[in-house]
C-alpha cells in the first residue's frame, strides 16, 4: 500500500508497474546510481565557487606581472621606488613615498575623525537607545553607507572644502587638500565602524551588564569599563577593516585631494594619493605598454598589499582575542 502510494506520488523515477510487482525491483531501484545529470550540476556549481579563487589568482597574477614589468624597465629602480620622495613620471622619478604619505595622512585623518564617532554611535545604539530610536537610526546609517563614494567626493569638494576655507582662511587651505578628503573618508567609515562595533557590543551577554549595575556602576561605567573591554576584539577588527576601506577609497580622494604628487605633511596642502594617481592616469588616454600604464599596476600592487594585510590582521584579531561566552 505505502509502496504504491510512493510510486504514485513520485512522478519520474518509479514507473507505475514497478510499484506493484515486488521488493526485488524496488531494491534495484533504490541502489545508489551515478547520475550524470547530478554530476554535471555539481561540477558547474563547483565552477561557480571556483570563480572567486580564479578572481584572486587573477588579481595577484596581473598585479605581480605588470608590476614586475614596471620594475624591469631601465628607467625604474626598485630601491628608488621604495625610498624615493619624488614621484614625477614625466621626469622619470618614481619614488612611492609622496603618494604613500598622502594616502596615510588621509587615512589617519579619516580614522581620527571617524573612529570616535562610529564607536560612540555604536555604544549609544547598543547600550542607551530605546528600541524605537534604534529602529530609526539603523536605516539612516545604512543609507549613509549606501551613498556612492563619488557623491561623497562631490560633497567634499563643494561643501567641506569651502567650509574649511571659511574657517581657516583661503591662503591656508588649498582648493584641493587632504584634510577635506580625510574628513569625508571619515564620514564614509562611520557607518562601517558603527555597525560592526554595535554587533560586537550586542554580542556581550547581558549577565555582565547586570553584574555591573548590581555593583552600583552607572550606565556609562558599565558601557565603557565592562561591555567595551569584553567586545574589544570585535571593535578593533572593525577599526582595522575601516582603515583598509579608507586606504582603498578612490573617488573622494581623487576629487578632493588634488592631482599631482606632493611630498608634504601639511593636511591643508594638496597631495595626490595612490588611488587618486591610478584613477587620474587611467582616466586619460592610456596607451598600453607605456611607463604610465605599467606604473599604475605597481602602485596598485602596493594598495592591494596594504589593504590585504589589514584585512588579514582584522581576521586574526577576531580569532585570537575573541572572548567566548557560553
Amino acid at each position: 500500500m505505502s509502496r504504491e502510494a510512493l510510486a504514485e506520488s513520485s512522478p519520474s523515477r518509479f514507473s507505475p508497474e514497478a510499484g506493484g510487482t515486488g521488493s526485488q525491483d524496488m531494491a534495484g531501484l533504490l541502489r545508489k546510481r551515478t547520475r550524470i545529470g547530478e554530476s554535471i550540476i555539481e561540477g558547474s556549481l563547483f565552477f561557480a565557487g571556483a570563480v572567486s579563487i580564479l578572481t584572486t589568482i587573477g588579481i595577484v597574477y596581473i598585479l605581480a606581472r605588470d608590476a614586475l614589468t614596471f620594475f624591469a624597465l631601465p628607467e625604474v629602480r626598485l630601491a628608488d621606488f621604495l625610498t624615493g620622495t619624488t614621484w614625477q613620471p614625466m621626469l622619470g622619478e618614481f619614488g612611492i613615498w609622496p603618494l604613500l604619505t598622502s594616502t596615510l595622512i588621509i587615512t589617519a585623518i579619516a580614522m581620527l575623525f571617524g573612529v570616535p564617532i562610529g564607536f560612540f554611535t555604536a555604544v549609544y545604539l547598543s547600550e542607551y537607545a530605546s528600541p524605537r530610536f534604534r529602529a530609526i537610526m539603523k536605516p539612516v546609517l545604512e543609507v549613509l553607507a549606501g551613498i556612492p563614494t563619488v557623491v561623497l567626493g562631490y560633497f567634499a569638494l563643494t561643501f567641506v572644502t569651502p567650509f574649511l576655507r571659511s574657517i581657516f582662511g583661503d591662503d591656508v587651505v588649498k582648493i584641493y587638500n587632504m584634510m577635506s578628503a580625510g574628513l569625508v573618508v571619515g564620514i564614509l567609515i562611520v557607518p562601517i565602524i558603527a555597525s560592526l562595533s554595535e554587533d560586537a557590543l550586542h554580542a556581550v551577554p547581558d549577565s555582565l551588564r547586570q553584574a555591573s549595575f548590581g555593583l552600583g556602576a552607572t550606565r556609562m561605567e558599565t558601557s565603557l569599563k565592562v561591555v567595551t573591554p569584553a567586545a574589544l576584539s570585535g571593535i578593533s577588527a572593525a577599526v582595522v577593516v575601516a582603515a583598509s576601506r579608507a586606504m582603498g577609497e578612490t573617488m573622494i580622494v581623487a576629487l578632493a585631494a588634488g592631482a599631482g604628487s606632493n611630498f608634504t605633511f601639511n593636511p591643508f596642502e594638496s597631495a595626490e594619493s595612490m588611488t587618486g594617481y591610478m584613477v587620474r592616469i587611467s582616466g586619460g588616454d592610456l596607451s598600453y605598454g607605456s611607463i604610465d600604464y605599467q606604473s599604475i599596476f605597481a602602485v596598485g600592487l602596493v594598495v592591494f598589499l596594504l589593504t590585504f594585510l589589514l584585512n588579514i590582521i582584522s581576521r586574526r584579531i577576531v580569532l585570537r582575542f575573541r572572548e567566548v561566552y557560553e
Binding site: A48, I62, F120, I147, Y288, G300
Partner: protein
C-alpha cells in the same frame, strides 16, 4: 542583618559610610555619566546631520537662478517666425521693444518644416551640409546638400551616415537649433537657497553685470536633461548616454554575477564538505575578496577583459565590425564583467545566509522521499531562500551602480554622444559622468553634476524599495 533593616535605612552606616566625600564622588560619577551620554547621542545624531546636509546641498545646487545669454534668444526666433522671417536679430535685449506677439509658446509647437527652415537659415551652409550628411531632414528632398553631391557621397566607398538612416524628427531638430542657433550660455548661477532668500539683489546684480542675459529660475534636473545626450556645453548637456550606459553595464553585471553567485552559494552550503581544505579556502577567499578595494578590480578588468580578452570583449570575433575597432575592448561588456566580479562576494555571502536559514527539516523530508540532492535544492531550498537571495542581488546591484573607479580604469569614454546599443559599444555611466563634471571648475558643471547625483540617488532608492518590497512580500513564506 535582616532584610527589614536594609529596607528601613538603606545603607547601615558602619558598612557604607556616607561621608561628604562619597556624595561628592557620586555626583561626579553622575555628571560624567550625563556628559558621556550626551557625547554618545551627539555622535549618533551626527550621521543624521551629515545625511541631511548632504541631500540639502545637492538639491540646493541642482536648481536656482541662472543668468543665461543666448546668441539668438528663442523668443526672438519665434517672434521672427510669426512676422514671416526665419532669421532674427542676434542678441537683442529680452523683454525689449514691441508688443508681445501672439506666438507659439516654444519651438516644440512649431511644425517640422518651419523648424528645419529656421535651422537652415541660421547656420552656415557648410555646417548645415555636414549635419545633413549625418542624418537627412526629409526623406524625399534635401535642404542644404545638392542631390548630385549627396548621391556621389552615398555611392563612394565611405558613405555618409545619412545614406542609411531615416529622416530626423522635430526633437532632434530643436536640439540642433538650441546647440547651433540659440547657443544658450549660462554666465552666472546661484543656488536655490540664495535664489529664494536674496532674489531681488540677485536680479539687480544680474541686470547690471549681464544686461543681455535672461535671468530665470532653472531646475537643472528636467526631462530634457534626462533625455538629451552628452554635450560639451552644460546648458544643453544631458545624461541619456550615461543613464543607458549604467543600465547596460549593471544589467550585464547582474546577468553574469547572479547565476555564478547563487551557484557558488549553493555549492558551499549544500554540496561542499566544509571540512575539506579546498572548500575552506574558497570560503576564506570570498571573505577576503569582499575587502579588496574596487579600483583593484578595475586593474583586473583592464588587464584581463580589456586587453587579454580584447577579441571577445570588443566583439571582433563575432564580427561586430567598425565599433570594435574604435572601442578597443573598452566596451560595455568589459565593464559589465568587471562589475560582475566586484558584486560577486556580496551576492555569495547573502545567498549563503539565505540558504542557511532554510530549516534542515525540509531537506531531510525531501531526501527521505528519495529526492536527489539537486532535486532537493531546486524544489525546496531555493524556493524558500528566494527572498533572501533577491535581497542580496539587489544589495549587490546598489553597490555596483555607484561604482566609479573601476569603470574609469576599465576605460569609460570621456566623451560620447551616441547611445550604447549593444555589449560591444563604448560606454559612459552616471557615476563616471558625475566624476567628470565635478572635476571641472565651472559652476554650471557642478550644477549638472548635482542634477545627475539626484538621478543616481533616485535609482538607488528605487532599487532599495524593491528590495524591501521583495523581503516583505516573499519573506514570510515559512511563517
Amino acid at each position: 542583618m535582616t532584610s527589614k533593616d536594609t529596607v528601613g535605612n538603606k545603607a547601615p552606616k558602619d558598612l557604607f559610610p556616607r561621608g561628604e566625600e562619597v556624595e561628592q564622588d557620586i555626583r561626579k560619577r553622575r555628571r560624567a555619566g550625563t556628559i558621556w551620554r550626551t557625547i554618545f547621542l551627539g555622535a549618533t545624531v551626527f550621521a543624521v546631520i551629515v545625511l541631511s546636509v548632504l541631500l540639502l546641498k545637492i538639491i540646493n545646487d541642482s536648481m536656482g537662478l541662472v543668468a543665461e545669454e543666448a546668441a539668438i534668444p528663442e523668443r526672438e526666433l519665434l517672434r521672427a517666425y510669426h512676422e514671416g522671417r526665419l532669421t532674427a536679430a542676434p542678441n537683442s535685449a529680452p523683454g525689449g521693444e514691441g508688443d508681445p506677439v501672439e506666438t507659439a509658446e516654444s519651438l516644440a509647437d512649431l511644425p517640422y518644416d518651419a523648424l528645419v527652415g529656421i535651422y537652415a537659415a541660421n547656420v552656415s551652409r557648410g555646417r548645415c551640409r555636414a549635419v545633413e550628411r549625418e542624418q537627412r531632414f526629409f526623406a524625399d528632398s534635401l535642404v542644404c546638400e545638392t542631390e548630385e553631391l549627396f548621391a556621389q557621397v552615398c555611392a563612394s566607398d565611405n558613405p555618409a551616415a545619412a545614406c542609411a538612416l531615416g529622416p530626423r524628427d522635430s526633437t532632434q531638430v530643436i536640439r540642433l537649433i538650441r546647440a547651433d542657433v540659440i547657443k544658450p550660455k549660462v554666465v552666472a548661477t546661484w543656488n536655490a537657497l540664495e535664489s529664494i532668500t536674496n532674489r531681488e539683489e540677485i536680479l539687480a546684480t544680474a541686470a547690471r553685470r549681464f544686461p543681455n542675459a535672461e535671468v530665470y529660475f532653472k531646475s537643472w534636473l528636467s526631462w530634457r536633461f534626462i533625455t538629451s545626450p552628452q554635450s560639451s556645453f552644460p546648458e544643453i548637456a544631458g545624461i541619456r548616454t550615461a543613464l543607458l550606459g549604467t543600465l547596460w553595464v549593471v544589467g550585464i553585471a547582474v546577468l553574469v554575477s547572479f547565476p555564478l553567485g547563487v551557484g557558488a552559494a549553493v555549492y558551499l552550503e549544500e554540496y561542499a564538505d566544509s571540512r575539506s581544505r579546498l572548500n575552506r579556502i574558497i570560503q576564506t577567499n570570498i571573505n577576503n575578496l569582499a575587502g579588496v578595494p574596487s579600483i583593484i578590480y578595475g586593474l583586473l578588468g583592464l588587464a584581463v577583459f580589456v586587453r587579454a580578452l580584447e577579441p571577445i570583449t570588443s566583439g571582433a570575433i563575432f564580427g561586430a565590425g567598425d565599433a570594435a575597432a574604435t572601442a578597443n575592448g573598452r566596451t560595455v561588456l568589459s565593464a559589465g564583467l568587471t562589475l560582475a566580479l566586484l558584486g560577486l562576494p556580496v551576492i555569495i555571502i547573502s545567498a549563503q545566509e539565505a540558504i542557511r536559514a532554510v530549516p534542515s527539516s525540509l531537506r531531510q523530508a525531501s531526501y527521505g522521499l528519495g529526492a536527489t540532492r539537486w532535486q532537493t535544492v531546486r524544489s525546496h531550498v531555493l524556493p524558500n531562500a528566494v527572498a533572501g537571495i533577491m535581497t542580496g542581488v539587489i544589495l549587490s546591484m546598489s553597490r555596483i551602480i555607484g561604482e566609479t573607479a573601476p569603470l574609469v580604469v576599465v576605460g569609460a569614454s570621456t566623451f560620447i554622444t551616441t547611445d550604447p546599443d549593444g555589449p560591444f559599444s563604448k560606454f559612459t555611466a552616471l557615476p563616471v559622468q558625475i566624476y567628470q563634471w565635478t572635476a571641472r571648475p565651472q559652476d554650471a558643471y557642478r550644477d549638472i553634476a548635482a542634477a545627475t547625483i539626484i538621478v543616481l540617488l533616485l535609482l538607488l532608492l528605487l532599487l532599495n524599495a524593491t528590495a524591501i518590497f521583495l523581503r516583505n512580500r516573499y519573506g514570510k513564506r515559512l511563517g
